[in-house]
């Protein structure tokens, strides 16, 4: 058993941990974002893309987070489905709106970047279409949970849907290699090293870390809210029986 998840499987320990970890990650996100934005606006214009290259610092981390958050949703759903662990289910439920927000952000900022560079707000190329499908999986997950009154059944059905949606992640990742796309291929996570110039790479990495820390903080906060909600439900049911 991995020590950290095992430690966090206990709701009381999770609440004690997240009480200080959520604000700590939030503070870290602010510092990293300030540093990333500073370096981002210090960087020169790109020789081809001009100032639109600065959209990269907010668009690319959002796109990375859209996939990372879905991976978290998938793992939490798997743990919830197999081990019936309430905290894993709360983690999955808490991740979905954040993932949808990051994916929506990636689509909107991508559109704002695409218009001046490609001459179109939207094209049905493989990368954009698969990211739109990812967004729809997030929305479907949340809609399914909200649609069923029985919370146990809703959690199970939504977990299965989340696991099915995992199949879309490699399609998003490798879509630029498998099909012709307006998007460029991978330029940061490559075996032979990044092809992005350092003046753009450093702010990009700082902003990605800022997004990651912000997600960590908000995820913990939302899981805490979910734990409180479930405790309130139990207390309300007890009060109704008394």
């Amino acid at each position: 058993m991995i020590p950290v998840p095992a430690f966090l499987f206990n709701p009381e320990r999770f609440m004690a941990f997240s009480r200080w970890a959520a604000p700590m990650f939030g503070g870290l996100a602010v510092l990293l974002a300030l540093a990333g934005l500073y370096l981002g606006f210090l960087a020169p214009e790109d020789y081809q893309q001009g100032d639109t290259v600065r959209i990269m610092f907010i668009h690319v981390p959002a796109a990375w987070m859209s996939m990372f958050v879905y991976s978290c949703l998938g793992v939490a759903s798997f743990l919830s489905l197999v081990f019936r662990h309430a905290l894993a289910d709360a983690a999955a439920q808490a991740a979905a709106p954040l993932g949808a927000a990051f994916t929506g952000l990636a689509l909107i900022t991508g559109s704002l970047w695409g218009r001046p560079m490609w001459g179109a707000w939207w094209v049905w190329d493989a990368r954009m279409t698969s990211v739109l499908v990812l967004f729809l999986f997030y929305v479907a997950y949340m809609a399914l949970r909200a649609a069923l009154d029985d919370e146990t059944k809703a959690a199970r059905a939504a977990a299965i849907l989340a696991l099915v949606g995992l199949l879309n992640l490699p399609i998003v990742k490798f879509s630029v290699d498998w099909w012709n796309s307006l998007h460029q291929g991978a330029s940061v996570f490559r075996f032979d090293g990044p092809t992005v110039a350092d003046v753009f790479l450093y702010p990009l990495i700082l902003m990605a870390l800022a997004y990651m820390s912000a997600f960590g903080s908000l995820w913990l906060l939302r899981i805490r809210g979910e734990v409180w909600r479930r405790r309130a439900d139990v207390l309300a049911q007890r009060a109704a029986r008394a």
Binding site: Y38, A43, D51, A101, L112, W113, R231
Partner: protein
């Protein structure tokens, strides 16, 4: 030197940053309000449960039984 002059692409660059800021503010407000709401609700229900379980104080003596 910081370069805030995004011309001729300002119409695309600044809305992208503004929307990003809005989405982050929305995520923060939503997460905080969700957690605070349910924490307050749980505390209130816990207080009600404690009051219901607490032993009732003895009734004050009535005037008829008073010496």
């Amino acid at each position: 030197m910081l370069d805030f002059d995004a011309s001729p692409y300002g119409a695309y660059v600044w809305p992208a940053f503004a929307i990003t800021a809005l989405v982050f503010v929305g995520m923060i407000v939503s997460a905080l309000s969700h957690a605070r709401h349910w924490r307050a609700r749980t505390e209130a229900l816990r207080q009600i449960a404690l009051l219901a379980e607490a032993p009732r104080p003895p009734a004050p003596p009535s005037e008829a039984s008073a010496p």
